[in-house]
């Protein structure tokens, strides 16, 4: 069924917007994964950001796929969610307002339409976000704490697929080919301007919560 797939033996794809707090979970996992493990030939790590449909070709070509992503599964914030095969949701929406509203679900569906079938294996390693509306923020502690378990889960998954993944003796800088150093997690989070310098809030619900808190005081 996947005879046409001639890309990576395993594609490890981190998606999300690093500028929006826990939305960056998937990309930060990809970053940590590349820094922590020695990967066999054919295993490719991609920082997919919010590239949307531009990721569809890699997905349609890969024989096996691991996706790191912030997921809304109605779980407790910081809960790790692992879904395999048909448990990974996918559908195509025709009603979105912007091209930039493409969900990973849609991209997976389109990739399967292009490849005329699903990959041999697909695993979603997700985390329920705690905070999405802190623009310019990093990961919250509960979500950050799941990066270690998430990349271990991904490594053992790929191992199970017969592609040996080995933890390095020490964490190494991830390759330049993954991400510019300027937006690596430490540089991004430590270089953040202070709240006094640059207002961090803005989303209506955040502001509404603040207003409610003020009223309560």
């Amino acid at each position: 069924m996947t005879a046409q797939r001639q890309g990576a033996e395993a594609l490890v794809l981190g998606v999300g917007n690093i500028l929006w707090a826990d939305e960056g979970f998937g990309v930060r996992c990809a970053e940590a994964f590349a820094a922590t493990y020695d990967l066999p030939q054919g295993v490719t790590v991609v920082d997919g950001g919010t590239q949307g449909l531009a990721l569809v070709n890699d997905l349609a070509q890969a024989r096996r796929v691991v996706i790191f992503d912030a997921v809304d599964f109605d779980a407790a914030p910081g809960e790790l969610i692992i879904a395999r095969g048909d448990e990974v949701p996918r559908f195509v929406a025709g009603k979105k307002v912007s091209l930039h509203q493409n969900s990973m679900m849609e991209i997976l569906a389109v990739a399967e339409l292009m490849a005329d079938g699903a990959p041999d294996a697909i695993t979603l390693v997700g985390c329920q976000p705690a905070e999405l509306e802190d623009y310019g923020g990093g990961l919250t502690p509960v979500v950050s704490a799941q990066i270690g378990p998430a990349i271990e889960a991904a490594a053992s998954e790929i191992d199970r697929w017969g592609l040996p993944v080995r933890r390095r003796a020490s964490v190494q800088p991830f390759p330049d080919s993954l991400m510019p150093k300027e937006v690596a997690r430490a540089a991004y989070e430590m270089g953040r301007p202070g709240a006094d310098d640059a207002c961090r809030i803005g989303d209506e619900r955040v502001l509404a919560r603040l207003t409610a808190a003020e009223a309560a005081d």
Binding site: E23, T50, P89, A93, G94, H100, P129
Partner: protein
């Protein structure tokens, strides 16, 4: 109650209110509310950005040489154009000139992005407003083949090809658990194409996706990687070494030959697939003349694609710069992004406060101070708005104005300006397309005009890639392989205080970044993005922006299924903060519609 806006539109907020909100569990980005009269014709339109994203909160205090890497994360589709705008702004502030080769390579990357974005927009967002995927399942493959061959010499057009595709599509639609292409308005009476045209378009939907893997390689070659290619203040990051070998490292002859073959494919795909499809689809919708927005009145382009390096004056820009106001095509004004009297942002109807909200602020002096309040006529609560009060503050988007005028930006604006300036490479293809469809020039000022201009511009951009490729090769052959100027790389060579502006024409319109640098760090960074121009709310005077104007007087077949609204809004290629990729367990609807 009916009222007149200063920029010439009649609004009536009586009748029924229709709310289209792309909310999933995380708050959406763009929401449209309209009032329809007894005949379901739109008489009032309200466009609101529901999410705030001030870039200054991320960049303040950071190294200006790094700003591009952050700005390319604003949005997943416009990555390159934000990065290019950012390096131009910083170079302008610090007085850094780039080498001629860097200019050619940046133009190649920007043009490749235009081609990529326009094709993906047309086939993967906008076409589904005109093409009924479900109807394509009942097409006759042989008749589809005849149709395809009658409009183009594109080789993928045999009856067998369309039959295979149809079977593949059926399999997916039947597979239930995917529910592929669910959540659309299939069968809506506003769809007019015969099943065969629908099937042909679906085939090209897939071919376009396949083609994008090629066009992306131009960014990989010159930016070192993709996604998220590298950029550099002072030039481009990849050195040129013609003798080098392999796919990584310097740009060598093998890589350049690859670029050339992709340019050739881009020209062919645009000429043989995109444009014939566009004209064929348009021919079924000629009576759908709605959606003109501000295009017949006021349009703006900053211009882009400098012929020579470091000259951003209008005469040196191949995508034309200019402003037209009040529909007077006989006069095209020049535009100066530095002049504090020209580009200003107003917040009278935006959720921010200024000391004096009667005036607008130039982006160098931009202030972003949130002030979230609802008007007295809003319904619902602050945390869950049922209906906005557009007479008060109602959007997180500011209202940018050019000399006080609301302006439309984007491919149609660029083509109207090129047309008004009488530039043959814009005027002639426009006239040819109108002749082909037997339409008058006024037909340009519409949703379809916007869609057509994008297609024509895709062809222009593909051909200009070839131009800059040849220019780059000629320069290399003449012995110049310089791609970066690092004379002012070190902050100690910079002035204590400086300010700069960078601009581009992003696929969806005029994009500007304004930066202030103090003691080697970013002190203020303001982006005015194309969708701010088009989707922004009303201003102090009550002038409405392009989105709101474009929806007026459009008849809706069924307000519960607002296909007509999506059609027109999509024609602008909207871009708000794009991050709604979060997976949900059950695949919530991406657009909720409420009619009251």
């Amino acid at each position: 109650m009916a009222m007149q806006t200063p920029n010439g539109f009649t609004l009536d907020d009586g009748g029924r209110r229709v709310v289209v909100d792309p909310i999933t569990r995380i708050e959406g980005h763009l929401r449209i509310e309209v009032n329809v009269d007894d005949a379901n014709v739109i008489r009032n339109a309200v466009s609101t950005g529901t999410m705030w994203r001030g870039l200054e909160v991320i960049l303040k205090g950071r190294d200006p040489r790094d700003a591009w890497a952050f700005t390319q994360r604003i949005c997943g589709v416009c990555t390159g154009t934000h990065a290019l705008t950012s390096v131009r702004a910083v170079e302008d502030a610090l007085g850094i000139d780039i080498p001629e080769n860097a200019n050619s390579i940046r133009n190649l990357m920007q043009l490749a992005l235009q081609v990529h974005d326009h094709i993906v927009h047309f086939y993967h967002l906008h076409a589904l407003d005109w093409v009924d995927v479900v109807s394509s399942l009942s097409a006759d493959p042989k008749a589809t083949s005849e149709l395809a061959q009658s409009i183009s010499s594109w080789p993928l057009s045999s009856p067998g090809y369309f039959r295979d595709l149809q079977n593949k599509l059926k399999k997916f639609v039947d597979s239930g658990q995917l529910g592929l292409f669910r959540n659309a308005y299939w069968g809506h009476p506003a769809y007019k194409l015969p099943p065969e045209a629908n099937l042909m378009a679906v085939a090209h939907y897939l071919e376009a996706l396949d083609f994008q893997k090629e066009i992306k390689k131009i960014h990989t070659v010159f930016g070192g990687k993709n996604p998220h290619p590298n950029w550099l203040v002072g030039g481009v990051p990849s050195p040129i070494n013609i003798e080098d070998v392999g796919a990584v490292g310097a740009v060598n002859i093998e890589r350049l030959n690859l670029v050339k073959s992709i340019i050739d494919q881009s020209i062919e795909f645009t000429e043989k697939v995109y444009l014939p499809d566009l004209l064929a689809i348009a021919s079924f919708y000629k009576e759908w003349t709605y959606g003109g927005g501000l295009s017949s009145k006021s349009v703006l382009s900053y211009g882009d694609i400098p012929e020579h390096a470091n000259d951003y004056s209008g005469d040196n820009l191949l995508l034309p710069r200019g402003a037209i106001i009040d529909g007077n095509l006989n006069e095209v004004y020049d535009v100066d992004q530095r002049n504090p009297e020209e580009i200003q942002e107003f917040v009278a109807h935006s959720w921010y406060s200024y000391d004096d909200e009667a005036i607008g602020l130039h982006p160098w002096d931009g202030v972003t101070d949130p002030n979230y309040v609802l008007g007295p006529n809003a319904k619902g609560s602050k945390a869950h708005i049922e209906e906005l009060d557009e007479n008060a503050k109602y959007s997180w988007i500011k209202s940018p104005r050019w000399k006080g005028n609301a302006m439309e930006v984007g491919p149609l604006a660029r083509y109207i300006i090129g047309y008004a300036r009488g530039i043959p490479e814009f005027k002639e293809p426009t006239e040819a397309a109108l002749r082909h469809l037997d339409l008058p020039v006024e037909a340009l000022f519409s949703t379809l005009g916007r869609t057509a201009a994008r297609g024509l511009e895709c062809q222009w951009a593909a051909e200009k890639m070839l131009y800059f490729y040849n220019k780059l090769i000629a320069n290399i052959k003449a012995g110049d392989v310089t791609t970066a100027n690092i004379q002012k790389w070190e902050p100690k060579s910079w002035p204590k205080s400086s300010k700069g502006v960078g601009f581009t024409e992003a696929p969806r319109g005029a994009l500007g970044h304004w930066v202030r640098i103090e003691d080697g760090k970013i002190d203020n960074y303001q982006c005015v993005v194309p969708t701010t121009w088009n989707a922004g709310p009303r201003d102090t005077e009550g002038n409405i922006g392009a989105y709101e104007a474009s929806l007026l007087d459009t008849p809706m077949a069924d307000p519960e299924q607002p296909l007509e609204i999506l059609r027109t809004i999509h024609s602008f290629d909207p871009c708000l903060a794009c991050s709604t990729h979060v997976m949900t367990k059950d695949g919530d609807d991406l657009a909720a519609v409420k009619v009251r």
